[in-house]
Subunit: 147 residues, 4 copies
């Protein structure tokens, strides 16, 4: 199934509907089922001890899923997160960027599921994993639960 | 089982080890198994459309769990989040504070589990639920996975 | 919001659409937002060591949610589980029944979320917690994802 | 890191400590970080409509994780499930076996995390995904939470 938005179109659209994205995130790669997003780690993402905060990791996983879904369904800003599960497995390195690799497991008419691994750049051992589920509103509706 | 820290001791300790807490969170109530924490909703917690962002809800659930665990085990800053699951069920109201009510389901020697409901102040319908699991390092160790 | 089925109607319907229920489960209590279901623990539910197996606990939490949803929406056998999270916190006692208490957190047009605590009968410390999400097909459709 | 048990040693040990395994499951493949397990689908695993039941899918994901952990840590029957999350994404085909592919994301001294995809044999679209966390008791201890 083809992409509805290419990499440049996707970043432009994300910056419009979700302006804080441009400060925090960069899009490294995009294919039909996978996307790689980078958290540009800065002081505001850190916890004492020099690790990346949990909320920052959640934000990265969530944003990567949102971007992956939009890349496939097009400009539907109202897609909303309905669920997540995360496991935090290793201490992140706060001195480098954090990389999220998402694989889209399902894209149905109303529900999408993505699996995400988070890495500190330069390491191949995941610091965390996440699953995010998104609700996609029917065309023309004014949806939204949370996110 | 008694509390190791009372409400005032807990907030003082949280402010020391986790300074951003004081800006974002307030502790409304504390008992042996339950704690109520408030997110002081400000512009930086909002998404377009006037809802509270997912990362802000994650941060509130996480901070409430951390505080509940410390209230019971005492000053052990190194307790770390190892897992979470969340369901986002209703659109939060960005014009009021968000309230987290946590119930501690288990406090073992090395693992704690808390169930959290999140409400927009003034509503009795939860906007989200969360479960957070925490790893508690053995006394004297230098632990830490993530957070 | 009133119940669509009372306790007797619910058990009769469950036995029709899901015959194995009658052998394994009993319905102890039902109100608008809460339901108590019992696993009639038998040898086939046990693991070596005399504990109740994980799949049996999953089945109990899942069946309690299915029953709670049907009690509210009526005879819609095609409601399907779309997600679950569970935490196993204490060793269950295989010599007594297991009790599930479910609280319905959300019942939307297409999605339901229930929180479940599982207890070995006679103990007030939960052996496990679960969250189950259900997809409810639109009236008249032939739905189904899994279950 | 090498395997503590090869494929034959693992199946022999599983059959000793967990006798029902031999009836329900077969081990298709094993490497250092991945394992493929098969549910030998029979009538007792089915739901009305010819789909594989949720508890059977849970059992497959759980057993695959248990086997993967034992393959690495050796004969430690007391490893126990402490948490799981699952998403059910497509309707399973009850007329063929179900295949679980597990990837071990973390194996620490006391905690293991595995990500599992479940497929109906012959399809490359996952019917479900799961994450299982296991607690590994210290050598010589008599552990156990649940499972």
């Amino acid at each position: 199934m083809p992409l509805a938005l290419n990499k440049e179109e996707l970043m432009t659209y994300l910056s419009e509907v979700f302006p804080q994205v441009a400060d925090d995130f960069a899009l490294d790669a995009l294919s039909e089922d996978c996307l790689t997003m980078r958290l540009l780690v800065a002081d505001r993402h850190l916890r004492p001890g020099g690790t990346v905060s949990g909320p920052s990791m959640f934000a990265l996983a969530d944003c990567a899923t949102y971007a992956m879904v939009l890349a496939r369904v097009g400009r539907q800003a109202l897609a909303v997160t309905t669920g997540c599960s995360m496991d935090f497995m290793r201490k992140p390195d706060g001195s480098v960027d954090m990389i999220a690799e998402i694989r889209l497991l399902k894209l149905g008419r109303s529900l999408a599921v993505g699996d995400i691994l988070l890495f500190s750049e330069g390491s191949d051992k995941p610091v965390a994993r996440a699953t995010m589920t998104y609700s996609i509103p029917p065309q023309g509706s004014a949806a939204a639960v949370a996110g």
